[in-house]
């Protein structure tokens, strides 16, 4: 047990990096970085080795799912009252029947969990081999393969999907945005895929001295646990940048119009932006958007979702989750 604990501690940094980098880029055709995809596809056969290079990602998964559940329950409570929320919670049915899109699904870690919770899940990835791995893995699980069309994988990108009429109650894109070439175009593609009143969940790394020290300096150059070049510091995204994007982002009038190449689309003044108010320190109100840090605790071998109160300092310096809701009336 002790050796396991030590092992997991020493592997922390490189796994953290490897895990993230394999969530390969699913982005607009113009933003897909061909070199990155090739790099990740070679490694993707180890996606489902839980004690292998991806162990940290496997451990992060329950935290992501519980955050998604928590926000959806909160929204249910706001829209339909507490009784409905309690019932959904006790039946574990908050995702049941929802249309969910997992952008950059990788080996399907998150997609499988969402499908098990009853969501009609579509996982997309720009890497064809990832889609192959994810489909093969799900087919071995009778729960996922027998329940009809509840879990589906497609080799495509968010920007391609926008051209189709289908929109989703929940769009997730975990550890992807820091790998795409044009994050603004990627963000607006994801946002366009959300139904009115739907939810967008992102997770990424903040651009701070701490994250540079952990993810690039230590992991790639000093410990050499991760191939040099896995991460690019300048591609990391700060929570404030996501917030300011959605402070100006307005949904286009027609929910499935072809997006323009500019980051900000459909700036129709009659529609309100996704984030209308922020507190004095720049954080959004809880019903519109939220930033929550996630921190790996090497001693217990778990990721921990930081409390809302700790979002200002320390907790969001490295990995964080971001949630924003599309206004119902837009």
């Amino acid at each position: 047990m002790l050796s396991a604990a030590v092992r997991s501690t020493t592997r922390l940094l490189r796994l953290c990096q490897n895990a993230r980098c394999f969530q390969s880029a699913a982005a607009t055709s113009s933003t897909v970085n061909a070199a990155e995809i090739a790099h990740f596809s070679r490694l993707s056969s180890l996606w489902w080795d839980e004690q292998g290079e991806f162990s940290l990602l496997h451990r992060m998964n329950p935290v992501r799912v519980s955050y998604i559940r928590e926000k959806l329950l909160e929204a249910t409570c706001e829209d339909q009252g507490e009784d409905v929320m309690r019932e959904l919670e006790s039946k574990c049915a908050v995702l049941t029947g929802m249309d969910v899109l997992d952008v950059g699904c990788g080996g399907g870690l998150l997609s499988e969990s969402l499908a098990r919770l009853g969501a009609r899940t579509l996982g997309i990835d720009a890497s064809e081999s990832n889609i192959g791995i994810a489909s093969a893995h799900a087919s071995g699980d009778p729960q996922l393969s027998s329940s009809g069309n509840s879990l589906e994988y497609r080799h495509t990108s968010a920007e391609q999907l926008v051209k189709e009429p289908k929109r989703f109650d929940v769009v997730c894109s975990m550890e992807v945005i820091e790998h795409v070439d044009n994050p603004l175009a990627f963000l607006s593609a994801c946002a366009q895929l959300v139904k009115p009143g739907g939810h967008l969940f992102l997770s990424t790394i903040a651009r701070t001295p701490l994250s540079y020290a952990l993810t690039i300096l230590a992991a790639e150059h000093i410990l050499q646990k991760v191939a040099v070049g896995t991460h690019t510091y300048s591609k990391f995204i700060n929570p404030s940048e996501l917030i300011s994007f959605f402070q100006t982002y307005r949904s286009s009038p027609s929910s499935f119009s072809i997006p323009t190449d500019s980051g900000h689309i459909g700036s129709d003044a009659s529609r309100r932006p996704w984030i209308t108010r922020t507190y004095a320190h720049g954080l959004p109100t809880r019903s519109e958007a939220e930033v929550r840090g996630i921190v790996y605790l090497p001693l217990s071998g778990e990721w921990k979702l930081m409390s809302r109160a700790s979002t200002l300092w320390g907790a969001v310096e490295c990995n964080y989750l971001f949630w924003v809701r599309r206004p119902l009336d837009s």
Partner: protein, 556 residues
Amino acid sequence: MTFFTTPRPLARLGCRRRLFLRSFSSERARDNDIVIVGGGPAGLALAAALASNPIAKNSLKITLVEGGDLSKIQDWGMPPNAYSNRVSSITDTSQHFLNRIGIWDYVEHARTNPIHQMQVWDGISGARITFDASEMPESSEMARMTENLNLQRALLRKLSDTPSVHVIQSVKVESIQREAVGRNDWPLVHLSNGAILRARLLVGADGFNSPVRSFAGISSYGWSYDTQAVVATLNHAPRGPFQAPNNTAYQRFLPTGPIAFLPLSPCTSSLVWSTKPHLAAALNKSSPGVLEQLINAAFRLPEPSLQYIYSRLLEGAMSSDEIKQEIMFRERSDGISSHSAYASATSILLEGGIPPDDADALPPLVTSIQQGTIASFPLRYNHAESYLGEGAGNRTVLVGDAAHTVHPLAGQGLNLGLGDVDALSRCIIQALTHGGDIGSYTALMPYTRERYFENHKVMSAIDKLHKIYSSTTQPVVWARSVGLEVVNELDSVKAALMMNAGASSRLQNVSGWDLFAKGVENLVGAAGTSKMVGGMVSAGIQELVKQAGLRISGRH
């Protein structure tokens, strides 16, 4: 790439490939979420715990496989005053758990007996510690003596009302293999009736020689104590009107092993006597009327007298009268008055009257032994290296005796198993609410994190207890006795120990027995301090303690 330079995954892959070659088609296999191998208390309790949760009940397909005939246990019954010889003390924590999963109502309460007090004393020095439930906050009883069959029957009755759990009995597990390539290499359990069960999660609740543990390639470490436990159900007179009722457990630590007296009803109690194998064999085959006298003597006579009687016993079978003469002789030569509670052969206590002052310090005198209840079994210490299978053994988890076997001197085996089941069922339900794959290592990791060190702590405390009380070396006896007496006399220290345990009891599995374990840790500490004291008094004693320490640690 980094992972190619890591030897572990490669070794594991190679191992898995070999298994693939041996495994065969899984087309006939029936899919299950959980296959539990073993229908003992731990396996049954896991099935019941999961079935009691609405989320798990609606989403999990559970099959339990048992080689034995469970219907016999389900229909088990005994006359009111006859008791099975396998009993366990169900701690408060375990009882709460059984209550929560709806089992406790199925237990026949009239056949259980609460323990309000425990008296433990040193076989050589007589130093004594008393744990009383009234000193513990939030609890009226320390534990409840329950026949294992009573609990197992309750679990089976509950499960027979639970259609969501499929119980297969009188069918053996012939082999466990891993699925062929192309699928997700789940375990396939081949049964003697030809059926094949495909398991998302395979639970080994299959006891000390766990086939699931060998399939998962989990090694375990441990040893056999040079000790056998002799068990029997004892009849005795009820406690007199001036005495406390029969709710006190007694345990005397003899150098050959502890002897315990566990109350089952006003006039029946259970014996667990751990002793050297040759002595256990002699006790086991001693003629009627002999064993009860030996039991009475073992709780009462000084250690040298006991040694003498054992040597006589080992020389050849003795009749009931011969043994009585020997014990009477030793009682006279040890100066034990016939009015004393320490007298057995010469005692006049059975004739009634006012009991002596020290009557509550000893168990009642045994008058006879229930027929067919004398049995003995070897004692072991064994702990699996891990509770979760990895690599070629993944999707397996161990609970109960398959994961750990302990010396029964603290009656903890069953409670540790129920603690495992509680943790594992919570872990599985947690994974379900997060959409996790309940067979995955990630989903099960919280279980092993919660239980491994917890179990290890209790197990090593019990082991240390066994070792420290096996010694007859004077400084060790002195140190352990002083430690015990001091803790017993300093009410504030004892209360602090208990408060500490009580305060955290909601969060952790702390019970009276845990207190006991803490007491033992203190004793072990005291043995350590005796080195210091020895240094102050004389270098000679220090040397003795060192040697004693070496001898203790070198024994195993």
